[in-house]
Amino acid sequence: MIQMVGTGLLCGALLGFVLQRGRFCLTGGFRDLYLTKNTRMFNALLLAIAIQAVGVYALIHFDLLVYEAGTYSFVAVALGSFIFGIGIILAGGCATGTWYRAAEGLVGSWIALIFYMLTSAMMKTGAFKPIHDALQSMQVRDNSIARTFGVNVWVLIIFFIGVVALILVKEARKPKIFIPQLKPKKTGIAHLLFEKRWSTYVTASLIGVIAILAWVFSEASGRMSGLGITTPSANIVQYAVTGDVQYINWGVFLVLGLLIGSYIAAKGSGEFRLRVPDPKTIVSSLCGGVLMGFGASLAGGCTIGNGLVQTAMFSWQGWISLGFIILGVWTATYFVFVRPTIKKTAQQPTVAQTN
């Protein structure tokens, strides 16, 4: 029990700290693929997936971890992920992003988070359970890509590493541009941890390593999976309203640690402040939270559970989910950012003038 609490909080705190300082926002990354044709964050995600895949499958190879892909429902994963993708644009961050923005003092993210947690619990054991169960039992297939193609999973991993290496080499060859930085006010370790801009690729590598650690710690506590946000978020609500300790597991401490780690990161760098959004953002965050909880529960994971972890396990669920989350993000991006700009092009933006 003490070990579960300790390793869960530690792993979550590390992840929260790295996400906050590294400005690791997958919602922004997927959105910018479309909005600004920027692939940096998406490439970083691929790097984190590759690192985790090698680490976790090496541990499985030496019988240090147990993993079984199981089955998945195409309808549930595709539909759920698409809805989740729309939700994260409305909420201004994915599930993990919402947890760490909540810790930066953004009240809008608190609202999104509360509704995300509530809807997830409703899908798993509440009023929406019949919908969840009906869709998840449609078109159930084998979840392992390697088994479907009858190849060893290492064939997929090596092919994937090749693709990621090509992308990173191409990125490294691009001419370097100087990006203006804030004037440093701290020195040494404090500067490095609480001030310096972290490279997206360093951040992604750290996330890959934390994802491996999560598998080890989580399985040691009896929870047979890696990083996960949605089920643990639902578990907190389920425990809160039933008092049933069966809902308490390693994942619950992971997400609580996430909140603590990102709060330390934000507070330490002077980036914590309570910020209350305008009514329009409140409504948007609330709707986003509901869609996120509904979608992620249906799809069996969020940008982390499916997009980072299931992809690294080379399951169909992971890659189908990643594809449909991105489609959902692009659809919502069109309605939230692209269409309003087209409409407004004739108008002048409101700019105040001073001397």
Binding site: A266, E271, R273, Q353
Partner: protein
């Protein structure tokens, strides 16, 4: 002359979206000061300015989760 764009209270990517639109209305050499409080902006706004070739003449944190950046149009 420096134009001031106040975006405090807006979440990302709105400060950047508005900054782009506001800079469109300026002529070369004019400056735009963007005030923002979304953390991701500390990365995305200077990165955008650098990639577009504009000059950042000032960039500082003015308080807890509050920043100002001044961009001179190329």
């Amino acid at each position: 002359m420096v134009k001031v764009l106040e975006t405090a209270g807006q979440v990302c990517p709105f400060p950047l979206v508005e900054a782009k639109a506001a800079l469109e209305t300026l002529t070369s050499g004019e400056e735009l000061e963007i005030r923002f409080d979304c953390t991701q902006g500390t990365d995305s706004i200077p990165r955008w300015a650098a990639e577009e070739g504009h000059t950042v003449t000032n960039f500082e944190q003015v308080g807890d989760a509050a920043w100002t950046i001044t961009v001179q149009k190329k």
